[in-house]
């Protein structure tokens, strides 16, 4: 079912002088989807959103909304509503005036506006708060008012620019579920921007991972997490352990990597790179902390790693072991706490085991900095 209006970016370039903020982006967002752009600060997420909402003209390429080219159409004529990174509630207007600003523009009467505001206030669980000023609301309440204001304009596409970044952790988690519920209720396309991979993974139908103006990978949360196509995507989304090396052998969709420290290791080639990765290429192998487990010391094989334990920590739900790894990076192993006893391994050699399907090989590339 493709209700709602889709958004397409075709060969989109955005330059500021010599600086390229967005490089050749191609994205198809299906109508009614919750789509996230995920990337570190300064990678061009806001820039893309501003191009979609009409505040920025693309240097090259096109933005299509519902199949219509938006070239030359101003932000007030596009069927989009943007929730700004800083919310941008009108400080001198009461909450209900804020929410129904778009109706005021269309010349609706105060009574109609009041009525609509009350409906929306009920929806965002702030009944009876319409007469407050934005400055009298808490962060989470402002957040919800901004959403109501955008929804009041009845946009086909709602654009959200890191709306949760200013909230504390508890509220952020609460708002995630709430946003998702609202999106499913109104059924319009949401384009969501975040640098928080947890947000992107929990809420989105599809995610685009961005790095310095380039879109590295587009896919649903599971694909991005389990089958990253670049070293950046693998290291940016979730925690990951990296093993550097060269491809020494290719067996169908799997490969043997001769790593710098841990000998020859066996792994699966990520879907996007199957058939492209060649013997002799520089490669990186990624294994999630939770995919590693302890094996009897001294076990040999191409899915076993031996390492010296640096330190350990107990996190409550997991027991983490840090061992020395490649190029200054530690290897982290997370063992779920199921009530078993944990030995202290500090300073000892241990052997780690993994399932080949959980180890992913991608071409060597830039890693996300912490």
């Amino acid at each position: 079912m493709s209700a709602g209006v889709g958004v397409d970016l075709e060969n989109l370039w955005i330059r500021f002088g010599d600086f390229v903020a967005v490089r050749d982006a191609n994205v198809n967002i299906k109508g009614g989807d919750f789509f996230s752009f995920l990337g570190p600060s300064g990678c061009g997420k806001t820039t893309i959103l501003r191009a979609v909402s009409g505040f920025l003209d693309p240097s090259e390429g096109n933005v299509l909304i519902g199949g219509n080219n938006m070239q030359g159409i101003g932000p007030n004529k596009r069927p989009t509503a943007l929730i700004f990174q800083n919310l941008a509630l009108f400080p001198l207007m009461k909450v209900w005036e804020n929410i129904t600003f778009s109706m005021e523009i269309q010349g609706a009467s105060a009574r109609e506006r009041r009525k609509r505001a009350d409906e929306l206030l009920d929806m965002i669980a702030l009944p009876g708060q319409g007469d407050k000023l934005p400055s009298e609301l808490s962060g989470g309440q402002k957040q919800r008012v901004a959403i109501a204001r955008a929804l009041c304009a009845e946009p086909d596409v709602l654009l959200l620019d890191e709306p949760l970044s200013a909230l504390d952790l508890k509220l952020r988690q609460h708002m995630r579920t709430e946003l998702r519920e609202i999106q499913q209720r109104v059924g319009i396309t949401f384009i969501y921007i975040t640098h928080d991979q947890g947000e992107a993974l929990t809420m989105s139908d599809d995610i685009a991972v961005m790095r310095a103006g380039v879109i590295d990978q587009i896919g649903d949360g599971k694909t991005i997490y389990n089958d990253p196509s670049t070293a950046f995507a693998a290291s940016f989304v979730g925690e990951n352990n990296v093993f550097r090396g060269k491809v020494s052998k290719i067996i169908g969709n799997e490969a043997l990597i001769s790593t710098n420290r841990s000998g020859e290791l066996h792994a699966r080639i990520s879907t996007a790179n199957q058939g492209k990765l060649q013997v002799g290429d520089d490669a990186m192998m990624f294994i999630r902390p939770e995919a590693l487990s302890l094996a009897p010391t001294g076990t040999q094989g191409d899915h076993y790693v031996t390492a010296q334990v640096n330190h350990e920590e107990f996190e409550g739900n997991t027991y983490n072991i840090f061992t020395e790894g490649d190029g200054g990076k530690e290897i982290k192993i997370s063992i779920p706490n199921l009530g078993q006893s944990f030995d202290d391994h500090t300073g000892q050699p241990i052997t780690l085991e993994y399932d080949v399907s959980n180890a992913v090989v991608v071409p060597a590339g830039e890693l996300a900095s912490e």
């Binding site: 932000p75 007030n76 509503a81 009108f90 009298e136």
Partner: protein, 422 residues
């Protein structure tokens, strides 16, 4: 003595001197508006009178000057606030590299002497007038037009400074949010930016009006047929001032104090409401009366209100009170005093003459001309008048109307100055 105490006392003394310096002239000036002598003075206090207010409102030129000042003020407010707003908006839009240069240029008129601005306005518009082939009575050489244009050249810069300060606190994404919600640029400007700017626009307007009202040095070149109040006052001083001017000053001071108080009360009230709203719902607040709150926190406001009430009662009682009786009494007293002096002098002279004639056998009957020279003008140079501080020759001259005898001769009368010092 405790050094702490010394410091505390000296601070109080310093404050007293400082405020005396600051407010003293205003208080003296205001007081002179209620004293009956024809020259503004506080001592000797003769009669409480409100005639000077009447005289003020009967003075065509002053009234006309006020009217012109108000016209020019309104014109200048409109011109300079809109130019200032445009300039301030421009500053936020302009290419960042040009910003500093633009700012310097737009601020420059403040640094240029008003005299120069006045002359150049006159010359510039005269040229344009001639270029367009218009006559001397055209709109472009109209005094109102020239004065408004001339004053606005630098008052607009003041306004811009005020507006820029506010504009810098404006979040440009608010305009974008309005556009995004379907507003046109004009609607975003009117519904979002303007309400935000309104407090600054209001203060820029007040500032512009006051700056225009008090301006002299630019206006003096441009006023043409429309002399403003400052121009009229300056011209009046040449012919001597009367307490009617003090009355005007008093009214301006009173109005200023009043509006300052109203403003202060407003700010306090808003702060209180904002504070209260934090922990009360809107419904609870609607019933509350907040006004007295600002009094409990501001002794200066109380003092000023007491002063105002005092003034109001004095003025109120004055409606019923007629100073004519008192003035007549004072004049009678003065006349008697003069007569007494004349009598004394006559006696003295007679005595002198008698003595002289006794000694020299009446060789010299003519005495000095001094006693007969009793008019205001002559006694300026009479050393005797300097001694008498209670009543001087100028006022002692018997005249019918206390209002009109004064001006001319007394301005340069050293006695008048001396008496004011007392």
């Amino acid at each position: 003595m405790n050094p702490d105490k010394i410091i505390r006392y000296s601070i109080w003394i310093y404050l007293a001197i400082f405020f005396a310096y600051l407010l003293g002239p205003l208080i003296i000036m205001s007081a002179t508006a209620f004293n009956s002598p024809g020259f503004p003075r506080m001592t000797p206090w003769e009669c409480l009178t409100f005639d000077w207010f009447g005289a003020l409102f009967r003075d065509e030129r002053i009234l006309n000057g006020i009217w012109n000042s108000v016209l020019v003020g309104i014109g200048t407010v409109i011109m300079s606030v809109s130019m200032g707003l445009a300039g301030a908006l421009m500053l936020t839009q302009i290419w960042p590299k040009l910003r500093a240069t633009y700012y310097t240029i737009i601020i420059a008129p403040i640094l240029i002497p008003g005299v120069v601005l006045g002359i150049s306005t006159l010359v510039f518009w005269d040229r344009i007038n001639r270029m367009l082939g218009l006559g001397a009575d055209s709109f472009l050489s109209n005094g109102l037009f020239l004065t408004i244009i001339g004053q606005s050249t630098f008052i607009a810069s003041y306004c811009m400074l005020v507006l820029v300060a506010r504009l810098q606190r404006y979040d440009m994404t608010l305009t974008e949010a309005a556009l995004d919600l379907g507003a046109t640029h004009a609607q975003a400007f009117r519904k979002v930016l303007m309400p935000f700017m309104f407090p600054a626009i209001a203060s820029a307007g007040v500032l512009a009006f006051l700056a225009s009202f008090e301006n002299y040095n630019t206006t003096t070149f441009t006023f043409g047929e429309y002399p403003t109040l400052t121009i009229e006052l300056a011209q009046k001083v040449r012919y001597g001032i009367t307490p009617a001017i003090s009355a005007l000053a008093f009214m301006i001071v009173a109005l200023t104090v009043f509006f300052a108080l109203v403003n202060e009360a407003n700010i306090k009230r808003k702060a209180l409401i904002a504070e209260a709203r934090k922990d009360a719902t809107v419904g609870e607040l609607a019933g509350k009366v907040e006004v007295p709150g600002f009094l409990s926190r501001n002794p200066a406001a109380i003092a000023l209100i007491v002063l105002l009430i005092g003034t109001a009662t004095v003025v109120g009682s004055a409606m019923a009170y007629s100073p004519d009786q008192c003035i007549a009494g004072v004049q009678e007293q003065k006349r008697l005093e003069t007569e007494r002096r004349i009598q004394e002098l006559r006696d003295q002279r007679a005595k002198d003459a008698a003595e002289k004639s006794q000694q020299e056998g009446g060789a010299e009957t003519q005495s000095t001309p001094k006693p007969s020279n009793n008019s205001g003008f002559g006694s300026v140079f009479a050393p005797g008048t300097l001694e008498g501080s209670d009543s001087d020759a100028g006022d002692a001259a018997p005249t019918d109307s206390g209002g009109n005898n004064s001006g001319f001769g007394n301005v340069f009368d050293p006695n008048a100055l001396q008496n004011d010092d007392n």
